[in-house]
Point group: C3
Chain length 319, copies 3
């Protein structure tokens, strides 16, 4: 099923507006070009909404957040919602500072995100901080959510688990705590209406009803800065090319999946694609190649990845 | 004739002030170092004019424009004009938002640019928006200009042709519409006093009187972010090393060309150099190399390009 | 002695807060990941102090300084001083504009830096501009300092020596003027309480009492943008992993050197490591590889450098 999703990206060449961070901006642009999409970076409130309106998708990344950029993010997100184009949030570092956490919550309150992609620490911090804003629908759901969290971080205050842009050791997804994290991502998806993508050695992606466990990728990817940001940009491209007919597209694509899965599967496809490319790139490395060459090879691999290879090499299971 | 122009860059090592965009800033610095020039990036109005005054050339790139940076650009451009050092404008995304278009026009009104380098959509949007500010000198020129444009974008409002940072399909330069674009660039050069460099699969560069058609480069260059920005930086280096005696240079170089061509030929040489390096880099690519490796190889090729190779491999014709 | 210093970086994985410049931010993040450290980039005053407080080291780089970032730098530096974690200053371009020079002096007045790393022009400009703020302790020291400078820049006003981000020709460290520069760095170290690291074809590093001359590296490193910035980030990682017990570390490492050398040797180790990696990376280059590939290979070399290789290949002498 992944095949068509990538093929649509290559064929439809969606234009993606990235309100990105300074560290990974160049990589995000190049990975979008690698997958066949077209990047636009614009970050001043004076133009962001208008730029969004000529694009097919939007990604908002708070990796080097500044106060000046928040209104730009809000304006673009609002416009994307009005136009019905997909919006991806990458809440980099949520939990690491009050400013990041509060800003991420504010974005979550004002913008309806199609997908939210981060590591376990970031997503948990965002979920906890937004709990009041996004009330769980039943008491039992609230209870389950709270228990899930307290078992993952036993004996610690929740905020102390979130520690910067890397995942806290206590937040590591393992086979043992997989069920807890699966119920966390489904619950968070239910509360936000977004597909939740949790990045780790095992990736989880879920909407309210369905979760996928994805086992692609290579541990060395965490030694390259911005691979997460790049995946968020890629996710917006997969969503834009697959979720809604692109503006000006003459014929509506016949989606191989049900309407309710229109967001889940493109997000999952982006994760599989990034993971498969991380594996393929790692195999190219020779003895002297390190994380800088790996960075290039991952993008190179996206450039060459065929729909058939993605179909064959994606490792996932429904949960 | 290209040989000396590159040799001067290598020998004179001009210092270039880049007010650049965040996406391609690192690449611009590295390509300047590759060609033998020396980059300085400074973007706060508190220092930009002073930084410009210790440099031999200036490039202004609006790729990630913010309101805060415009006064810095104006201050630097003004200082460069006072000092008589070359200034290059890269009007990235002009036409994609009112903010970009209006800012680009404002720069054009306040600064005398030595060269303006962009794709067809950007240049056409800039030309249209600045039409009032830069009155054509005769009625017949105005008429010709208008006709040229309407044939290229039949039946469409002009603004709707400009679409982001990539060239619109309607703005593609082909053998069929080459004459229209040639008269456009000459006309725009006449109105602005700048050399106009129009980037595409075929590159055009012109002053008021003379145009060159350059057929170097490789289509894959459009899959690497920031190759245009890099070329603008390179253009400033070629202009700085060839147009005016560098400050402190003990002897005035004997230019092989006439005074009136002092700006046209260095700009053309930069375009040829970038195109030749795009070709040479592409030949190095193996089966698994994609746009990220290509990005590196283009800069590597600039590092190694000899004056003789540029002379031999430049493909151009006078028009 | 270098072996343990690198081993501690690999083992302790210090988290480094970089308030960096836009040009080299991505490279700084990747070189930190390469050496085993973990980067966080945050630059808005709304969060920088809090981000610093969850980190083990801080580096402040003024390469693309803006007025908005200065309060963020001051807040982070102050917090780092309160917490006793190391702070590195990279005064990029000091001397090139009044804004840079004054800002660098202000940082020097308000923050106690563990190390200051720059080229000869930058350090001399900073030393001269901060002379009033940081009074030399005796008249004879003041005299010696002044003489040292005037011999290096005979017949020129001091400010005219500082020329942008590259070292001025007059500031080049040679075997002939080595003694003058050695007394300069020791003196500046004495006045600031920081380890002073002077980058050049020969690197000098000194505290008030002891200086080391380091002869690693390759001239081609100056053709890669941001190698200095990367070294400053690396320096913060070496300091953080070696100077103070990391927060939460269960046992205090037995340092192989005296307390007074706790800052000098980690800084020297970072310089040796960068130089050794510059040499190793240069040996990998084939005929067509230029500065872009070299950029990647340097970071790759840091990724693979073993403590034993650093021990064997470091070229230094005590002075």
């Amino acid at each position: 099923m992944w095949k068509d999703l990538l093929e649509n990206v290559r064929k439809r060449a969606p234009r993606i507006h990235c309100i990105s961070n300074y560290v990974s901006m160049n990589d995000c642009a190049n990975i979008l070009l690698a997958c066949g999409a077209s990047p636009i970076m614009a970050m001043d409130e004076a133009e962001t909404a208008q730029i969004t309106s000529i694009c097919d998708g939007l990604t908002i990344n708070i990796g080097t957040l500044s106060r000046a950029t928040i209104p730009a993010m809000l304006a673009s997100g609002k416009r994307a919602n009005e136009l019905g184009i997909p919006v991806v949030l990458d809440p980099v570092g949520t939990g690491a500072s009050d400013f990041r956490t509060e800003s991420a919550v504010r974005l979550l309150e004002k913008i309806r995100f199609t997908a939210i992609r981060g590591n376990a620490s970031e997503l948990r911090a965002l979920s906890a901080a937004s709990a009041d804003a996004l009330e769980p629908r039943t008491r039992s759901e609230r209870k389950e959510r709270t228990e899930g969290r307290s078992e993952i971080c036993p004996g610690t205050a929740e905020d102390s688990c979130a520690s910067g842009v890397d995942v806290s050791a206590l937040d590591r997804v393992t086979e043992d705590n997989l069920d807890h994290w699966l119920s966390f991502v489904k619950d968070f998806a239910g509360r936000t209406g977004a597909v939740i993508a949790l990045a780790g050695s095992t990736d989880l992606v879920a909407d309210e009803d369905t979760a996928l466990v994805i086992r692609n990728g290579h541990p060395m990817m965490s030694r390259v800065t911005g691979t997460g940001c790049q995946l968020s940009a890629l996710t917006a491209a997969f969503l834009a090319a697959n979720q809604t007919p692109l503006k000006g597209a003459e014929e509506n694509h016949n989606y191989p999946v049900q309407v309710s899965s229109r967001s889940l599967l493109p997000v999952a496809a982006a994760i599989c694609a990034m993971g498969v490319c991380g594996e393929r790139a790692q195999k190219r490395l020779t003895g002297l190649d390190g994380n800088a060459t790996y960075r290039n090879y991952i993008i190179d691999a996206v450039y060459h990845l065929t729909p058939e290879e993605l179909e064959t090499e994606a490792k996932y299971e429904m949960r």
